[in-house]
Symmetry: C2
Subunit: 486 residues, 2 copies
Amino acid sequence: MKLKIKSLRLGAGRPIAFIHPSKAKHLNIHPGERIEIIQGSKKIISIVDIARRILKEDELGVSDELLELIDKGIVDVSLALPPSSTRAIAKKINGLELSKEEIFSIITDIVNNSLTEPEIAYFVSGVYHNKMSFKETVYLTEAIYKTGSKINWHTKEIADKHSIGGIAGNRTTPIVVSICASLGIVMPKTSSRAITSAAGTADVVEVFTKVDLKLDKLKEVVKKTNACLAWGGSLGLAPADDKLIRIERILNLDPESQLIASILGKKISAGSKFILIDIPYGEGAKVSKSEAMKLAKKFVKIGKIFGLEIKTVLTNGEQPIGNGVGPVLEAIDVLKVLKRENPPKDLEEKSLFLSSQIIEMMGKAKKGEGYLLAKSVLDSRKALKKFEEIVSAQGSKSFKMSMAKYSHIVLSKNTGVIDSINNRTINNMARILGCPIDQASGIYIFKHKNERVKKGEPILALYSESRKKLEEAIIYMYKNHPIKIK
Amino acid sequence: MKLKIKSLRLGAGRPIAFIHPSKAKHLNIHPGERIEIIQGSKKIISIVDIARRILKEDELGVSDELLELIDKGIVDVSLALPPSSTRAIAKKINGLELSKEEIFSIITDIVNNSLTEPEIAYFVSGVYHNKMSFKETVYLTEAIYKTGSKINWHTKEIADKHSIGGIAGNRTTPIVVSICASLGIVMPKTSSRAITSAAGTADVVEVFTKVDLKLDKLKEVVKKTNACLAWGGSLGLAPADDKLIRIERILNLDPESQLIASILGKKISAGSKFILIDIPYGEGAKVSKSEAMKLAKKFVKIGKIFGLEIKTVLTNGEQPIGNGVGPVLEAIDVLKVLKRENPPKDLEEKSLFLSSQIIEMMGKAKKGEGYLLAKSVLDSRKALKKFEEIVSAQGSKSFKMSMAKYSHIVLSKNTGVIDSINNRTINNMARILGCPIDQASGIYIFKHKNERVKKGEPILALYSESRKKLEEAIIYMYKNHPIKIK
């Protein structure tokens, strides 16, 4: 069917075409299906939606992103048969093992927008139910990094770390990077924004400085300071992964093989070679201790195939780390540790422990001596100085550390001992309060697990820029009991 | 966030809102997520997309369908938390049994567009992997019909039939309805259009007459003729089912419990009471013989709960029925049977068998005598007369029975016996040829299974309105071998 391209002046975030209902009926097309657009020797697959009134019958409306792929003029449009990757997805749903070619076809089609969101959901669900073999996980990792760009560095001695998510307030990265970089370790850290938590490392660092760096700028910062604390999202490192995560987070599905492939794929793209992986375990974390041990082995084994040196550590993930949950509150915790001013002990200890592992892995200290070295650069304020250097190199920014407009202090109703603090409920509450967008919203946790609390003592402080959100968070809290006292 | 409603004059087929990228960033919204729109006491959930340029920053673009739900003016927009039905979907994905309330929440949210397509895909996939208990299937059936409208008839003696899909050319319905209605059985048949096959009953009947009837017109036709042969799609009978089917067909997933709930939910909505269910089995059909037997029992058991009298028959579904595949070609087969002019024997026999079952169920003949009665009204042309009555009551229409412009005859390369004819490959080929939109496109099958064929004899004729489609179908045929000769 011949149709005339019409720009709708619509930036939809992805290529999308709009067709008149009469033509949709003729082609037997429903919203969300795919059309094939042929123009000369070009053949493009696009998702299609139906639009009355803004289109004439013989027009094909296109989003800005689609207009970048085709020229204005006449095109030939037909219903596209599903790409062959849908057959691979059906195989996985039915419990069969996928070949390298099949996994690459799925990931390539995710990147070039040939797969629709329900199709990606079927893939995630197939992997969730039927798991992936070791081989499949390797292919998935390879496909994720090979379908994106890769950063090359001046040295091969690139260190990196990753803490598996889900633990509220677990903001060790800025501290660990500052300690390691001040010892000469090259650590160009790219982090994500919050996916389901109150804040990601990129959200917290953004309180201090710009995190949305172009590749040139990022390399300049690393050259100057040995490190960076940037947002990975704008670098196009593993585009398939971002799309997979969007579909996974819908139901908080996180199949193990995708977790591994996602983390390692991104690390390979970022040019990292020596990688510390922190696996928090326990109630409220993603995995139990025995699962964490198995997961650790897989990380090391798959990393080896791609020439990565991977060290794993298992840490207690039963409760939030530090006192603050939310961008500004976590930034305050980080500064307290770096400035040696009344630091949250758990955050400090975990940061020192993770730093010691990297220091020893990179040969800056003998085995068993990394901790003292890390402690010395922290105590001497060298780490603080390095942090300030990185922040200033990324672009200084005035920031205020004041909290959000509305607050509410939660007092203990009983005397007793804190029995548990639920990571997920704390994260959800912080999101209701406005995290991560309202930087100064969030939760201050006064007491940690096993600490004694008296009736009437404060246990939580809630902050929000909106009275309504504050009220909603309080209602959520009374329904879900994030903290239990025994 | 306060935004101003702007009509985009866009009929998108479903309520959808568009937001400016800067506001999307502020609200942490991605395309395909949900927003809550508050206007006075109204609270509406809508899927949101991102649009630059056609919107000012403070505007919320809305599709026609969304504009029907809200008034122009200022609204308050926020990121909507996922509806509680997503928690129910997560439960199903994780293998837990759902309560009645949970199943109703999912189906209600599908109907009111509160669930996104990947969420529905997760539901389908969860049901596919973990199956549904008997109870869950009952609740699903109930939810599907209770969330749509229901037709009430002047009598309770409403007969109906359903053949489970997937068998190419299986066009018994117009014949069965004509036979039964000519015997005084009230049979207001609503059918679907093709989902993955070359033609649905509605597509075939549309060759003769209008099938898109309003409820009043439909009732008038039934009053006049005892029957109708209408398309069910425009009656809003089981709206959840249509959306589920759209997501299921992506990977041809058809979980048993959804198959049962979909069929029975639609029959209850259509006001049917005595229902014959034809379950084709065998290679190339949806189920094996033993699966068909189990499925039959479940239909009867669940039907009983809703006060339905269900009779099931198991039929051989190993190959296409009749000679024609495609709307006009199947219409010709139907006419040949009704006119007694060289009818395809398999289509005639199957239609008589199904008719006999309904005739006996409705007490129009004693057990074992239905077949002869059916044969007599067919031979006496009473069934033909009834068919013409129905067609004329629905709206006469000039139709031509000529075939599509381009054709290709496939000759046998060997002498031998037809070993198999694959339903799915035949259906796919017919769709490539232009079915069901190009009514006169399709496939004529010269020989059936176990028939002898000589080298050089015709085995298939392909018809298409487009030379390119014809060529594509031929290429597809040589890759996929729909017919095997031994």
